[in-house]
């Protein structure tokens, strides 16, 4: 589903953010990507979402290769790989329902179905009661749920999450994790970057990859943990 092969990413000013990283996330797998800030977690996710291209090596996501997918075609990959961020990135002037409906509309859902499908997605993340709330009227956890519903609009095969619980209190963070587990149970692969070790410990069955200064230093599967 996601495969990095000897991936190095260098930025002209900041040097190498990733150094010869290789790993594979299978279909339906749940993986935590951890490490200190600056260790390369966000860079990895950006490469997987093809917001950036590797300097060396290859990133493959759901049949799309970083070496072969042109900038014009990246949108096709994005429909298979949903993404959520620490800061939610919702459209501030639009309600929860409108935020999700917008994603549905711009990815080709017929107008007549927008409302109904957006409602269903928000029900899936447990927000049926907050359809007409603006982002400012929602708690952090609720905003992240709207962002997740939006990421699910294209029925992706992979969900990428960059510190999704970073702005949330412990309870809300657990709630989001439970939601990811449910989505994963329905067959979706999840790659989640987090530096919250307590959260990782709370889900001991989940595979953990650890980055340190751009190098992959630990893989719980290979270490038999």
């Amino acid at each position: 589903m996601i495969k990095l092969t000897d991936v190095t990413k260098e930025y002209p000013r900041h040097g190498a953010a990733l150094k010869e990283v290789s790993f594979h996330v299978a279909k339906g797998e749940f993986v935590f990507l951890t490490g200190h800030s600056g260790s390369g977690k966000s860079t990895t996710l950006r490469l997987v979402h093809m917001a950036d291209r590797p300097t060396h090596g290859e990133v493959r996501v759901s049949g799309f290769s970083s070496a072969l997918t042109s900038a014009r075609e990246v949108w096709k990959l994005r429909r298979r790989a949903g993404m959520v961020f620490q800061d939610f990135r919702l459209l501030p002037g639009r309600t929860a329902l409108e935020n999700v409906a917008f994603a549905l509309e711009v990815t080709g859902t017929p107008r007549g179905q927008l409302h109904h499908r957006a409602q269903r997605l928000l029900a899936q993340v447990g927000l049926s009661a907050k359809l007409s709330s603006l982002p400012t009227e929602l708690s952090g956890g609720e905003q992240q749920r709207v962002a997740i519903a939006r990421a699910l609009a294209t029925e992706p095969l992979v969900l990428l999450a960059d510190e999704p619980s970073g702005n949330l209190d412990e309870r809300a963070a657990r709630g989001i994790l439970e939601l990811f587990r449910e989505l994963n149970a329905s067959g979706m692969s999840v790659l989640m970057a987090t530096h919250d070790l307590d959260l990782i410990r709370a889900f001991p069955a989940v595979r953990v990859l650890e980055l340190d200064e751009g190098r992959l230093v630990y893989d719980s599967r290979e270490n038999g943990a």
Partner: protein
């Protein structure tokens, strides 16, 4: 497509002044072209009329022998550029002059000798009435020893041709200048529209909207602006045509395909300008 139309209209509502300014600049550029097209078209109409009457007149010496004349007429007729050759005798010339210049009756009445020369009027075939051919034929005619003088109104045929060329070049230069300014303003309008929607564009990219889908509203906005500019320019040109007709002298309106072509050129211009701007500025957000 409905999404693109809605977003384009929203962008126009968001910055109506800028849209109006863009359209006005396109209109100005096309209006300049339209005005000179009017001039060029009417000069062409005038030229066509003049050309129909273009003929070379060879005035003959009084002592021309009829045998020589017949041979010359024969030779003239055999040229492919020549449609017809007509001999006008001294008497006919006088009669014609008296008819055409009725105000000068007294002048002609007192004459004891006929001062007018006989002449050969050489009509040219269609397609052979341009200045070069006319001048070539008249040189050919002037070689005959019995030909005293040859006239074909060269000065003003040349002048009309020159005017037509000048108006074409001026329209090109001014049209290009105003066009460049219009393109810059359209690009600015598109840039502002992109900036106003940068958060939405970001989300669109995030969730996988296609590039075409993201671009379409901006391209539509450009087409709309150009189209309005084109229609405005057509209206201004028509107003000028009416004004000239009322105040100065009757002129002909432009042929339909020219007008339609001008309006479509406005739309195409708007599309190309916004496509270039979108290409450039969409990467910034």
């Amino acid at each position: 497509m409905t999404h693109a139309v809605r977003e384009a209209l929203a962008a126009i509502r968001r910055a109506p002044l800028l849209t109006a300014l863009s359209a006005a600049m396109v209109a100005l550029a096309l209006f300049v072209v339209g005005l000179f097209a009017l001039v060029a078209h009417n000069l062409q109409v005038a030229l066509d009329q003049v050309e129909e009457r273009v003929e070379v007149v060879a005035y003959l010496r009084d002592d021309t022998r009829s045998v020589e004349l017949e041979i010359a007429e024969e030779e003239m007729r055999s040229l492919p550029e020549v449609e017809d050759v007509r001999y006008v005798s001294k008497e006919e010339a006088l009669l014609l002059a008296q008819e055409q210049l009725a105000d000068f009756q007294d002048l002609f009445a007192g004459l004891e000798v006929n001062p007018l020369p006989a002449s050969l009027e050489i009509a040219l075939a269609p397609g052979s009435r341009d200045p070069e051919t006319v001048s070539r034929i008249s040189q050919h005619v002037s070689v005959y020893p019995f030909v005293e003088d040859v006239r074909y109104g060269e000065e003003w045929v040349d002048r009309v041709y020159l005017l037509q060329r000048i108006s074409g070049i001026t329209a090109g230069v001014l049209g290009t200048g105003f066009g460049a300014v219009a393109a810059l303003i359209i690009a600015t309008a598109i840039r502002i529209a992109i900036f106003a929607r940068r958060e939405e564009i970001y989300v669109m990219r995030l969730v996988g909207a296609s590039n075409g889908f993201i671009r379409r509203p901006f391209l539509l906005e450009g087409i709309f602006t150009g189209l309005v500019g084109g229609l405005l320019a057509a209206g201004l040109s028509y107003a000028s045509y009416l004004a000239v007709g009322h105040l100065l002298f009757p002129v002909e309106w432009l042929p339909g395909p020219w007008v339609a072509g001008g309006i479509l050129a406005g739309a195409a211009f708007g599309l190309v300008s916004s496509a270039l701007a979108v290409r450039r500025y969409l990467q910034e957000v």
